[in-house]
């Protein structure tokens, strides 16, 4: 599993962030399903992290989005994906991304 970031958060960008926490079946196509949903429905994904859990049977996916009123609709569409088992969302920044910010700076 790999980390994909679709769009870096620019410095000083403090628009209201939200973070989605997903439990998904772990197989080679599941990231394509999730990223494809975001791009085809024009939902703004700022960052995505994915690592296997539960001995590789499942994966945990963290997605940072800019909260623009679409959060509930995004969660509904994610729940419709066959491989998505649970969707939780945090209507604020979450430490999982905050802790990573050191790794995402220009030089």
């Amino acid at each position: 599993m790999q980390t994909v970031e679709s769009k870096l958060v620019t410095a000083g960008d403090n628009r209201n962030k939200a973070v989605l926490e997903l439990t998904v079946n772990n197989h080679p196509g599941v990231m394509s399903h999730i990223c494809g949903l975001f791009s085809r429905r024009v939902y703004n994904m700022e960052g995505i992290l994915c690592m296997p859990i539960d001995d590789g049977r499942l994966s945990r996916v963290w997605i940072r989005v800019t909260g623009n009123g679409q959060l509930e609709q995004i969660a509904k569409q994610l729940r419709k994906l066959e491989d998505v088992q649970t969707v939780r969302y945090h209507e604020a920044e979450h430490e999982v991304f905050v802790q990573l910010e050191d790794y995402f700076r220009v030089s």
């Binding site: 080679p28 196509g29 394509s32 399903h33 494809g36 085809r40 509930e72 609709q73 509904k76 569409q77 729940r79 419709k80 994906l81 066959e82």
Partner: protein, 561 residues
């Protein structure tokens, strides 16, 4: 203990799920599946002439019966060809299971002969898809595909099976069970009471039925609710037939090509009861100005449709038929004399105008005449274009699944293969396919399949030597600059049909068109009926794309169109 290869597992499971007909085309990567299929005692194979045709035949079977249908294609071009039919099934929520061959796993990713990323390409156009990695996986994937295709909001599922998986031997003790479907119900009794209270309190309610009524077999429940509470009822393109169009409460289809009065009734309504519909832009026009004074009760199996485009005051997420039945005892018996009188007034002041309804050589007259020749059991398929809208406006649809049409994707080329599929599913019925000269050319090769199968299908080609709806938009919105919409080469469809071995008549050269039309439709077997139509015959009324539904062009009473 059972021992067989992956291809045999697949075919045995399809038999187990009651599949009796598969449309498809063989190729290098699905030959093991075809070899196993050749040994099936219960499944017949329909050899299409293009994979898109096979996909639409499966759709025709599924749309006409409500049961899932299966189509086969090989890897590479076979898969890319069938994708349009799968995307079409996604947008109209049709349970189609598409099984594609793939190059052997060891060759995946090497740009092998006839290799494309079928899995990757089918993600956005399927409800779910699988790339099967072992024969053993098929024991869970095939049952899962049937569950997913039919559970909740139906939709297409694609299963990509590499050739080595088809050939791999697998042993198993027990045949897999048929998976139960989960029942989605996300509303409370209080939600139902609140919905009923709003219906009872409304002064100008409208019931708005979509394709979900067909999927849920909720037509009777919808009619019962409408009758008890005297709800004027409009239908979307895919909802046509949910309530008989000659029912006293029935309005016409709403939206871009609605009768004027229907869109005006919607404008005045104070409550929309939306059942199995999704506020498609062709139905709503400019969404911000759609039914501006109405509260909304939205009933749908798909939670993602509720509040997607229009906020609902009451959200009833679950099976539409079950919800309508639960609402029935809660709504009051009403007559709504004042509102129904207002609807009647709008209908008489802004009626649907059907020019030349008595002339079988004109669009409305032809459609009305055919409806008189066949009974309500007949299945009506259309292609996409002017003829489709004329049929939606003028054909008297009286039962669910009577009309098969590509609503969401609007795929030209849908009609002929979908009609063949419907005829294969209902061999005793007459199937009419209304098409245009633009649409029929997009899958005309399936005339060969129609003749080979001797389906009782009448293909009615309304030939206006143009891409009519494109030309109409150029006429209205692009300064009459007709570009790339008029065909300069006039195809002889009658000769072409005969070349395929099909009976054909040209109504344009007929001395007695009504007699010839009647005879052609009543004669068993496939037949093409060619009808020349003037390019200038337009579809009215028309709401300009992006405009509000009350901004209708044409179709006025007592006006020359």
């Amino acid at each position: 203990m059972h021992k067989m290869n992956g291809a045999e597992v697949t075919i045995r499971l399809l038999e187990r799920y009651g599949i009796d007909t598969i449309a498809g085309i063989p190729g290098g990567s699905n030959l093991p599946l075809y070899d196993a299929l050749s040994q099936s005692g219960t499944i017949r194979h329909i050899l299409a002439r293009h994979e898109q045709g096979a996909g639409f035949m499966a759709q025709g079977m599924a749309r006409a019966t409500g049961r899932p249908a299966v189509c086969f294609a090989t890897s590479g071009p076979g898969a890319t060809n069938i994708l349009t039919a799968i995307a079409d099934a996604k947008l109209d929520s049709i349970p189609v299971i598409c099984i594609t061959g793939q190059v052997p796993q060891a060759m995946i990713g090497t740009d092998a002969f006839q290799e494309v990323d079928t899995y990757g390409m089918s993600i956005p156009i399927t409800k779910h898809n699988f790339l099967v990695r072992s024969a053993k996986e098929l024991l869970t994937v095939i049952p899962a595909a049937f569950r997913i295709a039919t559970e909740g909001r139906p939709g297409p599922v694609l299963i990509d099976i590499p050739k080595d998986v088809q050939l791999e031997s697998v042993e198993f003790e027990n045949r897999p069970e048929i998976l139960p479907k989960s029942i989605l119900k996300n509303y409370t009794d209080e939600d139902l009471r609140q919905a009923a209270m709003m219906i009872n309190a409304a002064e100008r309610p409208v019931l708005y039925l979509g394709g979900g009524i067909m999927h849920s077999e909720a037509s009777s429940a919808a009619i019962n609710l409408a009758e008890k509470n005297a709800l004027p009822t409009t239908m979307t393109l895919l909802g046509l037939g949910a309530m008989p169009i000659d029912h006293p409460l029935a309005l016409t289809m709403l939206g871009m090509h609605a009768a004027r009065y229907t869109n005006l009734v919607m404008e005045e309504c104070d409550l929309l009861v939306v059942a199995g519909a999704r506020f498609d832009d062709r139905a709503t026009g400019k969404i911000a100005e759609f039914c501006p004074g109405a509260k909304v009760i939205h009933i749908d199996i798909d939670p993602g449709e509720v509040d997607k485009l229009r906020t609902a005051q009451v959200k009833l997420v679950g099976d539409v038929g079950a919800i309508l039945e639960e609402l029935l005892p809660l709504v009051e018996t009403m007559k709504r004399d004042k509102w129904r009188a207002r609807v009647a007034t709008l209908k008489s002041e802004y009626p649907f105008v059907m020019p030349d309804a008595d002339n079988p050589l004109m669009p409305y007259g032809l459609i009305r005449r055919i409806a008189e020749i066949v009974d309500d059991d007949a299945i009506i398929a259309t292609d996409v274009g002017k003829h489709q809208m004329w049929v939606a406006q003028a054909y008297p649809f009286r039962r669910p699944r009577q009309l098969l049409t590509s609503g969401g994707l609007g795929t030209m080329g849908f009609g002929l293969p979908a009609a063949i599929g419907a005829s294969l599913a209902w061999p005793a019925r007459t199937v009419i396919c209304f098409s245009g000269d633009g649409s029929i050319l997009m899958n005309i090769q399936e005339l060969a399949t129609a003749v080979e199968q001797q389906v009782n299908l009448k293909v009615v080609v309304l030939n206006n030597t143009s891409l009519g709806l494109v030309r109409q938009q150029q006429d209205l919105f692009f300064g009459k600059r007709y570009f790339a919409s008029e065909y300069r080469n006039h195809v002889d469809f009658v000769t072409i049909a005969r070349g395929f071995g099909m009976q054909a008549i040209d109504l344009g050269e007929s001395v007695d068109p009504v007699a010839d039309l009647t005879a052609a439709i009543r004669r068993e077997g496939p037949c093409l009926i060619h009808v020349p139509i003037a390019r200038t015959e337009e579809v009215y009324p028309m709401v300009p794309p992006g405009a509000a539904n009350i901004e209708m062009i044409g179709g006025e009473k007592n006006a020359d169109c």
